[in-house]
Amino acid sequence: MAALLASLRTPRGLIVALILLVFAVLPLLTQAFDQRYLLSIGTRIVIWSIAAISLNMILGYGGLVSFGHAVFFGIGGYAVGILAANGLQSAWLQWPVAIAASILWAALVGALSLRTRGVYFIMITLAFAQLVYYVSAGLEAYGADDGLNISRSRFPGLIDLRDKASFYWLCFVLLLGTLWFCGRFANSRFGFVLRGAKSNDQRMMALGFPVFHYRLAAFTLSGAFGGLAGILLANEGAYISPAMMSWVKSGDLIVIVVLGGMGTLFGPLYGTIAFFVLEESLKPLLDLVHKGWGEYWQIVFGPMLVLIALYARGGIDSLLGRRHG
């Protein structure tokens, strides 16, 4: 508790505390100001943050550029959707199945793709994601390209996911859990090996660490949390479609992680907030400069990404000053 209070005194800690606090009371705020749409954006930010944090586990800490992470949105989402469409709506069944499916797929893809490196790794993760994308687009019984409206998961007697505020708080709690886990993960011996292998995997292997197995484990864990985000995304819109896992979504996730700050605990959170706030605010901002320009906000956002790639690799996290401890 004392350490927690101490960390609040640093600007970095204060900002994190502020963000989490606003997130914690968001449903109350949106209700007070009658801004239900904002809650809906907030829910998506929380869900995308979970996905971004999960990608950060391999991309940020492991240096493994997975270009197919959105596939876990799809696997988590389709597991829920397919079960729901077949009348199995209990979350106690759906959610474990969805997570297990994500873990299985991540383990399979990881086992094959982690043998390649560099650009081949990027391409093969992309290829496996596209594979699932096209399979889902071919599932006539589950809407194929059109997608499918589903009914939300049921936690009988516990929580009604149709209630937007309850659903939001559930997502928020899961975000906290993901953050907690990722923090433990990063500072464990496991995270240490992963980071070591990122800068020099030969040395880590020479030191006797089975780098491949560590990476595979990280890839699988990352997939599990990605699948969780997929479960939540499907429940948020009560809708699944192949578009959930289009390769552009995978690109967006990479952008978010780099934008926020790779290999930092809260970076993905900043990145997601920045991404959504930019999307929602660049439009009105540009419209202020000249009416009608708002439509073209990506003309500004695109070059911003180029500049970030070239000059600001530390992301938002590095703007908050040097890290302590």
Partner: protein, 395 residues
Amino acid sequence: MKTKLFGPTTIAALATLGLGSLPVMAQSPIKIGFVSTFSGPQAAIGEDMRRSVELAKEHLGGKMGGKPFEIIYEDDTFKPDVGKARSEKLVLQDKVDFIGGYIWSNVLLASLKTVTDEGNTILVSANAGPSQIAGELCNKNFFSTSWQNDQTPMAMGEYLNTKGVKSLYLVGPNYAAGKDMLAGVKRTYKGTIVNEDFTKWPDQLDFSAELAKIAAAKPDGIFIFYPGAHGVQFVKQWAQSGLNKTVPLYQVFSIDAITLPQQGDLALGTLGAQEWVNDLPNEQNKRYVADFKKKHNVYPSYYGAQSYDAIMLMASAADALKGDLSNKDKVRAEMKKANFKSLRGDFKYNTNQFPIQNFYIQEAVKDAGGMMTVKTIATAVKDAKDPYYEKCPMK
């Protein structure tokens, strides 16, 4: 700690909320959301709808039920997931009184619950009419000013029977509407169905494989459903392959005011079915077509006419209730009367809130000024009901 932080938190929250601007509780205008496709190859359809909505607004003097009304257009970018997100924004952020539009059945199906159930907002489809919404998914908050997908091809099938076309090759896109359309023609057509091909929607614009199969199968006719840009491509490639000399084309929604400028002479003489044609002889239609042509120098399409009707339907309810739309039951009851001057002539609503209406056969011709258009040549069916309404639990 918490009380200290509450100040800045509230400010931060307000700053974020500022993006959405707080609602002003004064005499607020009636708000109508309109979802259509305004970008990409199918934007021409959205533009035609927008022009007709604006014309309806002009004809209404900018008011319904004595109140001014505003229309917020949203672009579904031709994608179900985007259409759903945009619909949600209209319902939750803009808090519209009605949502109209929807060209595509798959976009409408994805958006339906968000609007009608979670948003409790009345939706008027100005084009899409998927079978599901006519049947088991029918909804008290859903009204159509168009048709159910099966109906137009059913009318075409009836006509092909009388014309004595013995065998037919069916081609259509593989999405909600394409499936309904092909199912529709099969319901009424009595000749031989040589084959039915579905193509990938919306990516596939290259129909060489299908045309080669048709050439090999040598049917009496081809039946297609390819809206907008896809219709343009199909007709062009049909002509390029040389099939236009041997196998006639029968179509629904593929040769119209949107596509004819690009199809040109290639489409001349082809037949299609439709519930509205620009030469239907009622007063309101004459005025609509004349004003539209004067403004834009092109013919309006059924997409536009149905959008015009959608606004007029909303206005009829607002007028009857003197602008007070707070009681949704009353609004729905008024809308169900269909008490307005539809461009296709008067129609009644069926129990599933789809119109009971006539369908006509139209031919692609050149008008006196040399512009491509379509004209009515026969009435295919009268007072048609869609084949799904009995599955709808609403009475």
